[in-house]
Amino acid sequence: MQTAQQGNGEIAGASSSADDLDRLKELLVGDELDALDAVQARIAELDRKQHELPARLPDAIEDAQRGSGSTRMASALAQPVTQALGAAVRENRQVIVDVLFPVIGPAIRKAIAEALRTLVADLNGAMENSLSVRGMRWRIEAWRSGVPFAQIVLKHTLSYRIDHVFLIERDSGIVLERQSAPGLEDLDADAIAGMLTAIGEFVHDSVGRGGGNTLDAARVGEHVLWVIAGPRASLACFIHGVPPAGLHALLEQRLEEIHTHLGDVDDGGGIDDAWRASLRPERLALDAGAADLSSRAKPARWPMLLILLAIVGAIAWFAVRSERWNAGVEALRARLGAHPGFVLTGIEEHGRESLIVHGLLDPDAEAPDLSPGAAISGVPVRMAAVGYVSTDDAVIARRARRLLAAPQEVQIAAHDGVLALDGKAEQSWIDSTRERASWIAGVREVRFAVTPITDEAAIARGKLDALLRSIPALHVNFVRDLQPVADTDAVVERIARDALAANALATTLGQRIAWIAAGTNDDPGSDSINARLRADRARWLADELAKRGVAVAIADDADVPQIRERGVYLRATPREGSQ
């Protein structure tokens, strides 16, 4: 008990000493303890604020970006963000690539498309001067379709066919989707995709280490393999031939679109039919062509217009020249066609340098006029004719004159096969011709009106001569001065009748007669009186004959033979040519 009490006393003593110690501490370091409590409260407050910082940070950043604070904020974050991005690229490159892939892809594609457009424009410029037949044909195709000329060139020079398209999961190499052109041999797509993935990894590991480079293309002969790599899947395209650059861009675009759907696939949504169809080879080829068409600006058309202008000019010149040539040839053809005794069978043209006229020519026809005419002046024209018998009227007449040896006095004409002969000819010619005329080729009927030549002229000439001899013998005698003897009228009547008959005969013979009245006198009387009497008596007879239709002149007294009687008579002087 004592021990217990002693113990209690010790405890009470100890408690008292502890209180004392506390009081002592408070006395010695009371101010410091208060300060320590304040510091601890401050630390607790800071811890609380630190825990609240993530929640408050967005608001704080937004507050900092207001006004001039935005510049300070950007400056303050520039360095740490740059360093953080660098560290992220070094340590989590794939994440950065995955994030940036949808952004970088279109940007790169746009840059490549711009470069290709420049290249195509240069190519177009280089081809502008190409004037080969094939180039002209392509130009016409480009002009008609509105497609750039360079595109047409590429279309014709680059031919390709997409054989297979594999969408390959990048990590596993498993084929997510496969499209092949129809008619191709079946192949183990998964094995090929696996090996392709393995080889890609091998190439990357062997030669592309340290960079993002991957196997993106391989070529064996005419076969090309394109691998377009994405963060989660790759597109492998097996191509035969030379594909256009636009196809690669299209495949990149398809792959980017597919990546937006891969999340749905992971969620069990399956591969969408729409983008499965978008990987079909024929669809890709079609879209690649359409993309190229829509992305290119139209080329300059002035070369085409110049060429067209030149072509139109050449055509016009050729048309005018042809028209002139044809007109000249047709004029020659018309002239030769109308030529009697010539049948035109053709005109042979030798490169518009010369003409050869082919036809049938009657030997009795006149030679055709082969002058080329104004339209084709200077062009030599040659005749290549063979003989034939013409039934043209003009040729029949010429033939009849030649065969019948017709004299000039015979006129020959032909009309519709009827041969007409007119005029005078010797009886012997008439006798021999009358029958032969109908034998002439082309003559179906003969109208023979040729009369024989007789000696009527001689008869007429004889009668005329007789009259010219008898008329001067018919004297009108006068008793004295101008007093005629009895029966003078009968003599005058006879003289007049004979003179008119002589005139008619002379006309028949192509002659004319000049009648002269000549007076006479007997010896007595002076010369002057006798001369007056001779003139008066000549005038008396002229008057009397004039009354009866005979024109008579008065004889010059010097020309009158001296006949010793009182009278007057009529004499004639025949002259060639009728009045």
Binding site: R170, I174, D190, A191, M195, A198, E201, F202
Partner: protein, 166 residues
């Protein structure tokens, strides 16, 4: 019916018979020269599952080695299953296979794993003790196979397909 494709990687030490097992199981598309050049050869095989579904195994035969280098690790990416192959006549090859499994676990934590102890036709020369196999079967499916006779080969791959379908 569309077969679901799965990537299966063959792992094992050099000379354990991985390529022979694959050749026994599939009709090869590619030459084995890829194994010495690229380091891998890919073949496929479709297997009918008990439920009637078709499973397509895309088998990556990776060149044999006891350790996985960076290239082989890339070959393993995306694999759904591993078929570890050991040579029954070389106990060390079983240790190598398990070592490869441990190395690949970081990359393929959820991959199905099947072990094939090959060269059953030389069972009288086996170094691998039956007790070791019993112990191993407690954690992994183990098949004793012979690429030469074909014994156990189909069963091993069928197990892989079954585990992938499960």
């Amino acid at each position: 019916m569309t077969a679901t494709a799965h990537k299966v990687c063959m792992l094992g030490d050099f000379g354990v018979g991985k390529t022979s097992l694959v050749s026994r199981f599939v009709r090869s598309t590619f030459s084995e020269k890829y194994l010495t050049t690229v380091g891998v050869k890919v073949d496929t095989k479709e297997i009918a599952l008990p439920n009637g579904a078709i499973s397509k195994l895309v088998i990556w035969d990776i060149a044999g080695r006891s350790n996985l280098d960076a290239l082989n690790m890339t070959y393993l990416r995306g694999a759904s299953a591993l078929l570890l192959v050991a040579d029954g006549t070389r106990e060390r090859s079983l240790h190598s296979a398990l070592n490869l499994l441990m190395q690949s676990r970081g990359l393929l934590p959820d991959a199905a794993v099947v072990v094939a102890v090959n060269k059953l036709d030389l069972v009288e020369h086996w170094e691998v003790a039956p007790a070791s196999l019993v112990e191993l079967r407690r954690t992994l499916p183990v098949f004793e196979t012979s690429a030469r006779s074909g014994e156990g080969v189909e069963a091993a791959f069928a197990e892989v397909a079954a585990r992938l379908a499960a």
